[in-house]
């Protein structure tokens, strides 16, 4: 026990004394806490620049243009009659989409023939495309419904009945857990767990890699447990910073199950610390951890299932992805912090993390055991 405590304390001191490790374990999580949510501060996409190509010049086409201008998703930059100019402006990035109001739009509607307003959005950028399509669809839909209700009323229906018979079944959308459907609230709480993992992995592997270089990494099980506990507790402090302070300051959905979140940190951080130490022993080089691990964040984010549905992953990846702690960490953290699930609902991911911690820890203790461990170690 004394060995464990001494090793824990010595490791904390080693982290403090090593500028590179300190930067990764302490400064980087805090810095990324500000830096990563930065682009998403406004959360939603509003007032997307668009154009209206009006080839009809009628009261109806002007009405559609007015409704489009009033739509909060859209910012109608110009109204003109030149389709080619609109296309050029789209390529040049001046606008993100445009609607074409065809010639004879009003005449067709008055005669009871169908008329189509074409909306061109930029499919290369999904959120912009969605804003453009929905914005114009809302504007055209409102005008269209007005026309139809007038016709139904002319046919003798009351205004309310006309509205109901126009749309007998509607869908009411109720967004749960992220009620404003903010983009940052969706991305950052999940990526936070990945940031916690990557910084701890690189920091731990850098520290241990430096020890390997000078041949000081081998240690008894008690010493290793102390080292793992020290690295995990630094990681847990960063975790508390995210779960408590960061989610609050950014006003993300949070605090669903605080005790559950503590249990998560208590298994997540040791699992990550063990993996980091193992990588350090394997790399045997101070800087190698950063060289190799920097590129892993992107694939790890997309196999974790928060952004790309895990149902769409090839089946071998559906299994293999659980070998990475962040997969379980993200799944459990979203359920606990954002969705407020009881601990029982995350038993699966927590068990996986515990198994990873035990498995990786045992491998580490054996691989980096004191030299000549076959003989009785001198104490």
């Amino acid at each position: 026990m004394a060995t464990f405590a001494r090793s824990w304390w010595n490791t904390l001191q080693a982290v403090w004394a090593d500028k590179g490790v300190l930067l990764l374990l302490v400064i980087a999580p805090v810095l990324y806490g500000f830096f990563y949510p930065w682009p998403y501060m406004q959360q939603a996409v509003t007032r997307v620049p668009v154009a209206v190509v009006d080839l009809d010049h009628s009261s109806l086409s002007r009405q559609i243009t007015r409704f489009a201008s009033a739509n909060p998703r859209l910012d109608v930059r110009w109204v003109g009659g030149d389709l080619h100019a609109a296309q050029q402006a789209l390529w040049a990035g001046e606008i993100e989409g445009f609607a074409v109001l065809p010639q004879d739009l009003k005449r067709h509607v008055v005669r009871g023939q169908s008329a189509v307003v074409t909306v061109e959005g930029d499919g290369a950028y999904a959120l912009l495309n969605k804003a453009v399509l929905y914005g114009f669809a809302e504007a055209v839909g409102t005008v269209s419904a007005g026309v139809e209700i007038k016709k139904l009323q002319a046919a003798g229906q009351g205004a309310r009945q006309a509205a109901a018979s126009r749309n007998p079944v509607g869908t009411q959308m109720l967004p749960l857990f992220n009620p404003t459907e903010g983009y940052g609230s969706y991305v950052v709480p999940a990526v936070a767990l990945l940031i916690l993992q990557q910084t701890l992995l690189m920091g731990a592997a850098m520290l241990v890699g430096t020890w390997v270089e000078v041949g000081q990494h081998r240690a008894s099980p008690a010493q290793w447990l102390g080292r793992i506990a020290a690295l995990a507790s630094v990681g847990a402090m960063a975790g508390l910073f995210y779960f408590g302070w960061e989610f609050t300051v950014q006003d993300f959905p949070r605090g669903g199950n605080p005790l559950g979140a503590l249990v998560l940190l208590a298994v997540y951080m040791p699992a990550v610390a063990c993996l980091g130490c193992l990588l350090g022993v394997w790399f045997a080089d101070r800087e190698r951890s950063m060289q190799v691990l920097l590129l892993t964040s992107l694939p790890m984010a997309f196999v974790s299932g928060f952004s790309w549905p895990s149902e769409a992953l090839p089946w071998p990846l559906q299994g293999l992805r659980w070998l990475i702690p962040s997969t379980s960490g993200i799944q459990a953290s979203l359920r606990l912090n954002q969705m407020g699930a009881p601990l029982g609902d995350v038993a699966g991911p927590l068990t996986v993390l515990l198994a990873l911690a035990l498995g990786l820890g045992a491998l580490l203790l054996w691989w980096a055991r004191p030299r000549g461990a076959g003989v009785r170690p001198a104490l």
């Binding site: 682009p39 169908s114 290369a124 999904a126 509607g170 459907e181 149902e311």
Partner: protein, 403 residues
């Protein structure tokens, strides 16, 4: 090994060749370093492509609370289950059970059909179906919302058409008068919003960007860390000697990553039967220039800080979040102005715009001409700057070996 003085073109070529040959020998003896510019990038690109190879997620599990138990509610259920994007996985008896299912993420959404559903419709009043969706999972909930909206719209249109037919309107005019003005949606090129084309194609260069800046930082930074600057550059090298040595050394990273990038780009477009309207060749050229710029950024980070570790930290800070700032997921115009400035200072933002223009938007070449040329200029400037930094470092051996 002492270097011949460079005062002729032949001498310059010798310097480059010497540095390139020395690098080959180093790479042969260091399997990790060789891996990071050859099979690791290739494998990482394959992995990314594999993740998105399904293109569009199908059969996302949703739950159902049917309080109506009618022919109409069963019809709606059948419609929902028949949609490729949805799978009615669980039927919940009540709202509390449904909430538990949502909270544990057993299902990503729940459709609730109210008890008076059929009666309301028959009385000619507007009925409501409620979709509770897990908005914490943005992609999932977006896809489900779209599909459920379509299904309910289909059901609603069927009911309305039947009602109008009953009132004696001929079927042909019904369709028109139901929706006098329709919106025809044309999403340019990526019509189905196929994620393989949309996300994988944008993530591959983001990944290569990280690898390329890492490679630049590593190959220059390691000479400083290992105190082998004199063996690489010679004692008191001239500016031209250093420039040649840098070029000869970095060339291999550029070649390795460029070939992987070309294979990835061609593979995900032509290889998958996707023939973009724009120029794949120009995109490929832009990718090579972008990789050169990334490598030069890494080399500059290493020669300016004279520390491999700091250079790699800078690499992480610049390249790892580059995708988030690049405007692909969340548009740049919706970012705060400070973040917009940072986004526009990052080369990834500019490269990915060229790729989007050529591969997704089918823009004419003229629109995408300038960016790669600017990047080429920037690469040259950064290489010159790192040459200056290295020449200064070469004269001060005491500053080598920083960890």
């Amino acid at each position: 090994m002492p270097l011949a003085p460079v005062d002729s073109a032949q001498g310059a070529i010798n310097v480059v060749a010497f540095s390139a040959r020395r690098e080959v020998a180093l790479l042969r003896s260091r399997p990790w370093d060789l891996a990071m510019i050859t099979w690791v990038p290739a494998l990482a690109c394959l992995l990314l492509w594999w993740i998105f190879s399904a293109g569009l997620p199908t059969r996302l599990p949703i739950g159902l609370v049917d309080d109506d138990h009618s022919a109409l509610s069963r019809q709606l259920t059948r419609f929902l289950d028949a949609t490729p994007g949805l799978a009615v996985a669980v039927r919940y008896a009540n709202a509390a059970e449904a909430e538990r299912g949502l909270r544990s993420a057993e299902v990503y959404a729940v459709v609730r059909i109210p008890g008076d559903f059929t009666r309301t419709v028959k009385q000619g009043r507007a009925a409501q179906v409620t979709l509770l969706h897990n908005a914490q999972l943005g992609t999932h909930s977006g896809l489900i919302q779209r599909d459920v909206r379509t299904v309910v719209g289909t059901l609603s249109a069927g009911i309305e058409m039947a009602a109008r037919n009953k009132r004696g309107e001929p079927a042909q005019t019904v369709r028109v008068s139901m929706e006098p003005v329709r919106t025809g949606m044309v999403t340019l090129f990526n019509a189905s919003l196929d994620y393989e084309q949309f996300l994988a194609a944008a993530l591959l260069p983001a990944l290569l960007h990280i690898l390329a800046m890492t490679a630049g930082a590593w190959s220059v930074g390691r000479e400083l860390r290992d105190r082998t600057v004199a063996q690489w550059l010679g004692a008191h090298p001239t500016f031209r000697q250093v420039l040649g040595a840098v070029a000869g050394k970095l060339w291999w990273s550029w070649l390795g990553l460029g070939l992987v990038g070309t294979a990835a780009l061609v593979g995900i477009t032509w290889g998958r039967g996707w023939h973009p309207a724009g120029s794949v060749a120009w995109t490929c050229l832009a990718l090579w220039v972008f990789l050169a710029l990334s490598i030069a950024m890494g080399a500059l980070a290493a020669s300016a800080t004279r520390s491999l570790r700091t250079a790699l930290s800078a690499t992480g800070f610049i390249t790892a979040p580059a995708f988030a700032f690049g405007g692909v997921g969340f548009p740049i115009l919706a970012m705060p102005w400070g973040a917009q400035l940072w986004a526009r200072a990052l080369p990834f933002t500019h490269y990915i715009r060229v790729q989007m223009e050529q591969l997704q938007m089918g823009a004419p070449l003229a629109v995408s001409l300038a960016t790669p040329l600017w990047m080429l200029l920037a690469s040259a400037l950064l290489l010159l700057a790192s040459t200056l930094g290295l020449r200064a470092a070469a004269d001060r051996p005491a500053t080598w070996g920083k960890r």
